[in-house]
């Protein structure tokens, strides 16, 4: 084994989208109501529990809060944790409309 084989074991540089566009797996889509989202209402960085709890790390803690739908699997944890009930999970077909 003189020549090094990059594929001897499965490894890669950590990168966005390494496992493909996992947003394809989603049934329900999170939709944020800016009239209820605390960061948007206060117009400054605040709350961000959705960002903290998102298991995929695809919520951007900004004003307004952004969710990367290319990788959101639609688990609904953000909607569950949102203290102001600003996030609604809507079925895919309705979200597309």
């Amino acid at each position: 084994m003189e020549t090094k084989d990059d594929n001897l074991s499965a490894m890669c540089k950590p990168a966005v989208g390494e496992a493909g566009r996992t947003g394809d797996w989603r049934d329900a889509t999170p939709v944020i109501d800016p009239t209820k989202c605390i960061a948007s209402v206060k117009n400054r960085p605040a709350c961000y529990l959705c960002w903290l709890y998102c298991p995929e790390g695809i919520v951007t803690a900004a004003v307004p809060v952004k969710i990367d739908l290319d990788y959101c699997k639609g688990c609904g944890i953000c909607a569950e944790e949102c203290p102001s009930k600003a996030i609604t999970m809507v079925m895919h077909e309705e979200a597309v409309k």
Binding site: D6, L8, M11, C12
Partner: protein, 401 residues
């Protein structure tokens, strides 16, 4: 100058790990393996071995620690038996799939239910298809020497190795063992060069999801598909045969002891019947062969030392002229036959070797196997073969009705 001490098989294994200068040891106690890592823990506590000893809550975690430590470049060691090995099963696949040169002693013990703490080889045989190289030792000297050799083989082919030996029969039996000189072992065993260096500046995602087909990763590097990686593991094990034989030869040159590479034989040249086995039962068979020769039956023994990769070519050569083959083994592949017998028969397929093959399942759960009983069994097989019975499975000393 030789340093011969009278020690148990478990002490011999511990000395092997110490001489290989292992850096991380993790283990969970289980009979009959416990005293291997107990001895090592003692050395670590007293500062006689500079290693990290990691205590965990289960064998599954043991192998996880070994995998992690090996990934970051440490030489690692562990030992276990029976249910401990089975509890590791999932992580055994991860170790082999990650191509990590972990060395583990499996001190062979029967598997429940019902509980048995005594010896057979059902535990390691049932881990046959996890991608680990398996070496079966026949005495305490071979255990020590095999542990040292295992590191050199594993670190050259990047495959983990299980050094297997019979519980109690070897693990707790004292024999004279020549403990090699530490400097000479250093000369034999170069430092471990990991296939991937992990460091915070160059982070790696290890074992990400692999798709069925090859594809470019986010950096544009073409990555293997799952099946290609499986082929590489298979190829690595197939290719490791040469490395195992060469390592055994190099070891013999330096230390004067050769345990036979993949396979060894005893009084086989003019044999009318060849006995096959692995581990201590094969040692016992050499005494049986002597007894049979005293009674006028020319018997010889073929000991399979390395079970995976299976020594296909060597088995063919060893049995080329055998008029009859009798396989003794301490395992059963339920619903078929002993695993070794099935593999020997498969290796002979299409070669024109057409000897009858009889299979004895023996010594399960510690049932004693004496040389005289092996000799009687071979004689009964020869009678059956003369009567035309080409295949036969017999459970030795067992109530079968």
């Amino acid at each position: 100058m030789s340093n011969v001490q009278i020690i148990t098989g478990n002490s011999a294994a511990a000395y092997g790990a110490k001489l290989a200068k292992v850096q991380v040891v993790s283990a969970y106690p289980i009979t009959p393996s416990t005293s291997v890592t107990e001895t090592i823990a003692n050395w670590v506590e007293r500062g006689e071995l500079k290693a990290e000893y990691v205590r965990v809550e289960s064998e599954h975690s043991v192998m996880t620690v070994c995998i992690s430590a090996s990934t970051v470049g440490a030489r690692v060691f562990t030992s276990t038996s029976s249910h401990g090995l089975l509890y590791m099963h999932e992580q055994l696949h991860w170790a082999a799939g990650s191509r990590l040169p972990i060395v583990m002693c499996c001190i062979n013990r029967g598997v429940g239910a019902p509980w048995s703490i005594f010896n057979d080889q059902q535990d390691s045989i049932s881990q046959r298809d996890t991608g680990w190289i398996q070496i079966y030792c026949r005495d305490n000297q071979e255990i020590l020497d095999s542990v040292i050799q295992a590191y050199r083989i594993a670190e050259e082919v990047y495959c983990p190795i299980m050094v297997c030996y019979d519980g109690f029969v070897l693990s707790h039996t004292m024999m004279p063992v020549d403990i090699p000189d530490a400097d000479q072992v250093c000369q034999f065993l170069p430092p471990y060069k990991p296939h991937t260096i992990l460091c915070p500046e160059d982070p790696r995602n290890i074992n990400p999801v692999i798709f069925p087909w090859q594809r470019r990763d986010a950096e544009g590097v073409l990555r293997d598909g799952y099946m290609d990686m499986r082929w590489k593991l298979q190829h690595a094990l197939e290719e490791s045969r040469d490395v195992i034989v060469r390592t055994s030869r190099d070891y013999a040159e330096l230390f004067g002891r050769e345990h036979g590479g993949l396979l060894w034989s005893y009084r086989t040249d003019d044999a009318e019947v060849l006995i096959a086995g692995m581990g201590s039962i094969a040692t016992e068979a050499t005494t049986a062969a002597d007894l049979l020769r005293e009674q006028g039956i020319r018997a010889g023994v073929v000991g399979v030392r390395v079970y995976r990769p299976f020594p296909r070519a060597e088995v063919r050569e060893a049995f080329r002229k055998a008029p009859a083959i009798v396989v003794f083994e301490k395992n059963i592949s339920y619903g078929y036959e002993g695993a070794l017998c099935a593999d020997i028969k498969a290796a002979l397929y299409g070669t024109g070797i057409d000897a009858p093959v009889h299979n004895f399942i023996a010594g399960l759960g510690g049932r004693d196997v004496k040389a005289g009983e092996l000799a009687d069994a071979v004689r009964s097989s020869l009678t059956a073969i003369t009567a035309g019975k080409r295949e036969q499975q017999t459970w030795l000393n067992c109530v079968t009705e």
